[in-house]
Structure formats: structure tokens, C-alpha cells
């Protein structure tokens, strides 16, 4: 790596990233793919946010059992995010309420925010990726 590139890397720009999860954990590959992307993003020292809304809130619901689905239960991996220094997890209150869920049903510590505040938060991001 040249000196110039190294300098740019060292003083690299930190952007606000948000990964938005809107889909149920199983049935499609989106949830798992986003989770892997989030884990990889941790290596780049960026300001990473993860949001769960709509059916995406089911991704972090406690007590997932995938035996009959023939699919690996990857929900314990969300609890590893803390060790990756990814601690900015947001859940939309309305999405929880519409599904009869509350913060106590979730397997990680999150910040529950209103739909209006979630929209505001997204507006503050440099990059928003939705799946």
C-alpha cells in the first residue's frame, strides 16, 4: 500500500450507515445476508446503525425454533453484535405494536423509537441500505 493510500485509510472518512431490516427472518435470504453485511461492516470502523421494522422485528424475537424449517437458527448471532461494537440497534415501536410484541420479546438490547423518529434518524444517515 502506498503512503498516500495509507494516509487516506488512517484518516478515513467515517460515514453513518444504516442497515434496515424489513423482512421476516426465514423464507428469504435477506435477513441472514444483511446480518453478514453488518458483521463485515464492523471491520471498517464506520458508524453503523441497524434498524428493524415491519416484519423485520421478528428477526430479533426471542424463542425462535427453526427445526421444522430445515434452516439454521441464526438469531443467537444478533447477540454477538455487541462484541463487534455494533450497539446502535433501533426498533420501530409501531411495528412491534402492530404485531402484538414489546421490547421484552426481543433478544437484544435495542432502542425503541416511533415511526416519525425512525424516519428522522434515517434522514441523518449518509448511507441507508434496506432489505
Amino acid at each position: 500500500m502506498g503512503d498516500k493510500m495509507e494516509e487516506e485509510y488512517e484518516g478515513g472518512v467515517v460515514k453513518k450507515f444504516m442497515f434496515v431490516n424489513r423482512k421476516a427472518p426465514y423464507g428469504t435470504v435477506y435477513a441472514l445476508e444483511v446480518l453478514e453485511m453488518v458483521l463485515i461492516s464492523a471491520a471498517f470502523d464506520q458508524d453503523v446503525h441497524v434498524a428493524f421494522l415491519d416484519d423485520g422485528v421478528y428477526q430479533i424475537k426471542k424463542g425462535q425454533d427453526t427445526k421444522d424449517l430445515g434452516h439454521k437458527n441464526f438469531s443467537p448471532t444478533y447477540r454477538a453484535l455487541e462484541g463487534y461494537d455494533i450497539e446502535k440497534l433501533f426498533v420501530e415501536r409501531e411495528s412491534l405494536e402492530e404485531r402484538g410484541l414489546s421490547e421484552a420479546d426481543l433478544l437484544v438490547d435495542v432502542e425503541v423509537v416511533s415511526r416519525a423518529d425512525m424516519a428522522k434518524l434515517m434522514g441523518e444517515m449518509d448511507v441507508v441500505m434496506t432489505a
Binding site: E36, F74, P76, R79, G83
Partner: protein
């Protein structure tokens, strides 16, 4: 590729990571380690066992940075540092120790 142990053939990918984590046992770990040029000591086992516990809890193989930090937290900074871990696993504690532990290649590891 595949490993032969106790008259059984165990399937692995082209880099030597087990295809099925349930195939793992300590004899097989010793065999994989030998292929990697590693003579398993109690210190090696400590890291391998830690990785297996980590996987059981979180269902992923941790990135090396995360592994180092987690080991520091559990076993102290004299073990949770790059120098110590790379001396045990010269080709990378993430990659080599995960392989010996029967885990998949760490996510984000190239």
C-alpha cells in the same frame, strides 16, 4: 477435500474447513492441526475450546479482532493479544483455530 480418521471419511471444503460441524471430534482436531503444521498444546486447546463455546453461543465464527477481545475478557490480556494468538496459530488464529475447531471460516475473512 476430506479427512480420514478412525476409518471414517469426513468431508471438508477445498480449504480444509469441515462441511458439517457435527463431524468434529478431538481426534479429528488433532489431524486437522497436523495438516496445518501445528502440534496441539494445552494452550492451543484452550483457544480451540473457546472458539467452540463461542460458536455454540452465537452460531458464528468470530472475526479475529472480536476473538482477541473476547479472549482478553475471559482469560486476561496476556492471552488476548495478537502476539500470543499468532504465535500459537501463525497463519491466523481466526482461520487456523476455527478450522481446527471444526467451525466455518469466519464471516468476513478472505
Amino acid at each position: 477435500m476430506a479427512y480420514e480418521t478412525n476409518g471414517k471419511t469426513v468431508e471438508a471444503d477445498e480449504e480444509g474447513f469441515l462441511v458439517n460441524i457435527n463431524d468434529w471430534n478431538e481426534d479429528l482436531a488433532g489431524l486437522i492441526a497436523k495438516d496445518e503444521g501445528i502440534d496441539m498444546s494445552p494452550e492451543h486447546w484452550e483457544v480451540v475450546n473457546f472458539l467452540r463455546e463461542y460458536y455454540a453461543e452465537y452460531q458464528i465464527a468470530p472475526a479475529v479482532r472480536v476473538l482477541t477481545k473476547a479472549i482478553a475478557k475471559k482469560m486476561g490480556p496476556e492471552k488476548g493479544n495478537n502476539k500470543y494468538l499468532y504465535e500459537l496459530f501463525p497463519y491466523g488464529p481466526g482461520k487456523q483455530a476455527c478450522k481446527i475447531a471444526g467451525l466455518p471460516k469466519p464471516t468476513g475473512c478472505v
